[in-house]
């Protein structure tokens, strides 16, 4: 079996849920799969399985694996061309449209592609066998259609100190013991998107390391239910609305994101699942390539969510009778312009991708960083314009329960009505979706994740500084104005 059905995926999670140590609101969660706070995020991940089953989405959602010859989910696939990189962006936009939130599976795809080409180059230099180990593991992932959590961001302690300088060495995940049969690791990865919805965890170092910091230079994969793993579920704005029993005030009726504090409490990893152990000279490559792939991803997924936000603003303009106002129309055009600019960046860094020594394709790192830099800004402006068009009622509207009680229900409906042609409940639902996307649960993914996910804005600016040749540009200007001789002009 290479393409799992959504129900089979959810059954997989149910089968291991009893082995997973999950904590939320100060309590251990016994069955996280059916917990109303967590379930929307599982539904979003399930959509990556659902669409792969549908002929009308097959071209984007699946591809034939070069490792197995079988058709596999694109989230477990190694990009073989620029066209594949472009299709990845389109697939992420599609899923953003279908779920209206972070659907969490891209981080594993990005880690898989980065590890594949980095381990190849690491082996060429160090005569190690990480690439073959990794391929063996990946074939298993593809054959079973498993979801992988790409796991990078450490707790990091004092940000002014490198891993080797931290008073607590656990501030960055590290190897605490090397055994004949494997390694033991300790540490914590923060902000882990979709962690509990993944079959496997693929761990990478957080940053560039130098000689002397070998214990932190470690990549490996473990199943979610590995002994020693502890998960503490992250809160989201308005999360407890999911416990209220209604289906309007939650905004997005079906889907949501998930971030988890993930603690590795002396976890054993067998050698055949270790893909880097001490090679500090390849930590920069793995971090830059994973970050590059992930910064490309944002040019797809956030655009798909943005499509929902634009649709929400358009619907509210229609429902509230302002759709023909030139100012409103202009604001919607601006939202579209910003959203499509992000998409253009995602496509551009894919179209300018290149083949790696391992054979899979890598995006253009500079343009991927430009893409993500824009993503740190534009969704905030799109959200601001959406809120502007919506009006203030999406943050002052009474609870959905107040619309139904005998004492004031009819009055609340009467004074929430805009037009006889628009049911009050439609307006209610759309206003709550605006709230969800711009300051509720989904804003975690659409706004703050846009800011900090795949690296905060300054991380991209550092990369842009490194990758742009300013001296070349200076020389262009000097030749043009006569400061330097211009040999190109050799005619009379």
């Amino acid at each position: 079996m290479t393409l799992k059905k959504p129900q089979e995926y959810i059954d997989d999670l149910r089968a291991i849920a009893g082995d997973i140590d999950v904590y939320m609101f100060g309590e251990k969660v016994e069955n996280y799969v059916d917990n109303p706070i967590i379930r929307p995020s599982i539904n979003a991940m399930a959509m990556t399985y659902k669409l792969a089953q549908e002929p009308e989405y097959e071209d984007l959602m699946t591809e034939v694996s070069t490792l197995t010859g079988e058709r596999v989910n694109r989230f477990a696939y190694l990009h073989q061309s620029k066209e594949d990189l472009i299709k990845k962006v389109k697939m992420l936009r599609l899923l953003g449209q279908k779920t209206g939130c972070c659907f969490q599976r891209c981080v594993g795809m990005d880690a898989i592609n980065a590890l594949y080409n980095t381990t190849f180059e690491m082996d060429a230099k160090h005569k190690t066998d990480y690439h073959e180990r990794f391929k063996k593991w990946l074939i298993d992932i593809q054959n079973q259609d498993l979801t992988v959590d790409g796991c990078m961001t450490d707790a990091r302690g004092d940000r002014s100190k490198s891993p080797g300088q931290q008073p607590d060495p656990d501030a960055y995940l590290h190897v605490v013991e090397k055994r004949e049969d494997g390694i033991v690791v300790r540490g914590c990865k923060l902000h882990q998107t979709g962690m509990l919805n993944s079959h496997e965890i693929l761990v990478m170092p957080n940053n560039s390391l130098k000689p002397g910091e070998e214990e932190w230079a470690v990549c490996f994969a473990i199943p979610l239910n590995t002994p020693g793993m502890i998960f503490v579920y992250g809160r989201q704005s308005c999360d407890t609305r999911k416990l209220e029993g209604g289906d309007i005030d939650i905004g997005n009726k079906y889907f949501g994101g998930q971030e988890v504090m993930t603690i590795f409490n002396d976890v054993f990893v067998p050698w055949d699942r270790v893909f880097m152990c001490g090679e500090t000279d390849f930590t920069t490559m793995i971090v830059e390539r994973f970050a590059g792939y992930h910064r490309q991803s944002y040019g797809g997924c956030k655009v798909g969510v943005g499509d929902n936000l634009i649709g929400c603003a358009k619907a509210l303009a229609d429902y509230q009778g302002v759709a023909k106002a030139s100012g409103v129309k202009d604001k919607i055009v601006e939202m579209c312009h910003l959203n499509e600019t992000l998409y253009a960046c995602g496509i551009a860094c894919s179209a300018e991708g290149r083949e790696t020594a391992a054979g899979n394709y890598l995006i253009d790192i500079l343009l991927a960083n430009i893409c993500k830099q824009n993503v740190t800004r534009f969704p905030y402006e799109i959200a601001r314009l959406g809120q502007d068009i919506a009006g203030g009622y999406f943050v002052t509207m009474p609870s959905e329960k107040d619309f139904d009680i005998p004492e004031v229900g009819e009055l609340v409906k009467k004074y929430s009505s805009t037009s006889t042609e628009v049911p009050v409940e439609n307006r209610q639902r759309m206003l709550r979706l605006m709230e969800n996307l711009t300051l509720g649960c989904a804003a975690v993914g659409y706004l703050t994740e846009s800011m900090h996910g795949a690296g905060s804005p300054q991380a991209q600016r550092i990369m842009i500084t490194r990758l742009i040749d300013l001296e070349h540009r200076k020389e262009l200007a000097e030749k043009l104005c006569g400061v330097k001789e211009n040999n190109d002009v050799d005619w009379e």
């Binding site: 180059e121 060429a124 230099k125 300018e352 991708g353 290149r354 083949e355 790696t356 020594a357 253009d364 790192i365 040749d469 070349h472």
Partner: protein, 111 residues
């Protein structure tokens, strides 16, 4: 010795368009040719070649390699700071290209 060893190496040099180069392509080729003068006789050709040296200014490498491969026994691809997909420090590029031309085989670049 083979016949190939006795005659000059037929070398085809193909540049990308040079829109956004991260390296000085012309300077690099001059360095390579100077380096080869010492060890290897070279005949520059635009026809079928023993080796095609494709010099692209950035990692995108937009030259159509399929066309080049049809007219050369062996292709060396320079793409910004990468040679045959491996990253190389700027000061080593010419030396490594000369080494590849002399050896006429793909060598692993541990850079």
């Amino acid at each position: 010795m083979t016949n190939l060893d006795k005659r000059p190496i037929k070398l085809r040099i193909k540049y990308c368009g040079g829109c956004n180069p991260l390296i000085n392509r012309k300077k690099l080729v001059d360095e390579v040719l100077n380096c080869l003068k010492v060890s290897t006789p070279v005949e520059i050709t635009q026809k079928h070649a023993d080796i095609a040296l494709v010099v692209c200014g950035c990692s995108v490498a937009c030259v159509d390699l399929a066309k080049i491969r049809n007219h050369a026994e062996y292709v060396i691809l320079v793409a910004g700071n990468y040679i045959n997909h491996y990253q190389v420090s700027s000061d080593q590029m010419a030396t490594i290209i000369c080494q590849l031309i002399n050896e006429r085989e793909e060598v692993k670049l541990n850079c």
